[in-house]
Symmetry: C2
Subunit: 203 residues, 2 copies
């Protein structure tokens, strides 16, 4: 037995993927600024210099981390095509499915960074507005002038769901079953999307 093939990684295995996984977790957990390349490298079991070798700067690593194939253009049609009757519940259900999955980590990374980083906030805002909200409201049978507001209201409820479930972790939202949240929050989105918007009523 000349070579021991069990111990450490021999040549160039999927080190790159290991780094990406560690980076995804670190960015999701601590945000862009607080996540350090050293910590990411340590978590991946490699040298910090390797991270630079593969990804260049920290910012490029971040982009590689969040640039996973999460394409709303693929998910949303199924949510919207089934007709407007329970689109609210379907939206929440799809949303939770994504965020409870591994790609949710990338979303969390983006969100955490958006809070402390203007260019990430811009990135997130534009992604939400042009890729998600616009698609959701564009085929609604409502006054086109109301669409932006309806989209914004939907965003507010969904953003808050993310915050309370994954970031601030308020119970019982944080550990509620998806079905519980779907039945509770779905009607809210339904109303934001399709119900008549009452005129502002100062009091």
């Amino acid at each position: 037995m000349r070579a021991r093939r069990t111990g450490r990684r021999p040549g160039n295995p999927d080190t790159r993927e290991a780094i990406l996984d560690a980076a995804r977790a670190a960015f999701a957990e601590r945000g862009f600024d607080a996540a350090s390349i050293r910590a990411i490298a340590a978590a991946a079991g490699v040298d910090p210099a390797l991270v630079h070798h593969y990804f260049g700067t920290k910012e490029e690593l971040f982009r590689a981390t969040v640039a996973i194939p999460l394409d709303p253009a693929e998910l949303l049609p199924a949510v919207l095509a089934a007709g407007p009757d329970q689109v609210g519940e379907r939206l929440v259900r799809t949303f939770l499915k994504v965020w409870d999955s591994p790609v949710g980590a990338a979303g969390l990374a983006l969100l955490r960074s958006a809070v402390n980083n203007e260019w990430t906030a811009r990135l997130l805002r534009e992604f939400l507005v042009t890729q998600v909200l616009r698609r959701v409201v564009e085929h609604l049978d409502v006054d086109p002038a109301e669409r932006a507001l309806r989209g914004g209201l939907v965003a507010s409820q969904l953003a808050g769901l993310i915050m309370t479930r994954y970031v601030i972790r308020i119970e019982p939202i944080a550990s509620a079953a998806p079905d519980t949240l779907v039945t509770a929050i779905g009607p809210t989105l339904q109303r934001y999307l399709t119900a008549p918007l009452p005129p502002p009523n100062p009091s």
Copy 2:
């Protein structure tokens, strides 16, 4: 004319307050980690060492910054006492009044920090749960076992309102008139607080 009283601050003016103001703005804008004592001192026009002299550690400065007299125990009774009929709208209105005021900066500081900082998240969570949500739901005429969930749902919508209006700044939420948001979001909270919660319905 021996002493010039117009130029620079002579002895010990309200330097302390100047530091607090600068700190409030910096923490609100950049969060706990990203806000530097050096930058705060520069904004206040004083020496960084003075900040330590007045407040000790950065953490103590932060606590002094967010420990403004925002006592939910004073605001909430008026919101809740008027009866349960439009408690949702009154909640949103009161909420926006606070967040659009200067003390909202302290809240933003707390929120921004909570996203990247576990102990701040804990601080915010406990403040919300014990000081706000519990008070809101405790006198509701609903099944006590449902109160935590109802409080969490309210928190999710309000947290999302903050995120979309002040942090990610999604239009038209970011610049909407308070009345618009009150009439749009009030009924949501009303439903979360008082409407029957349908049982989860897997599909």
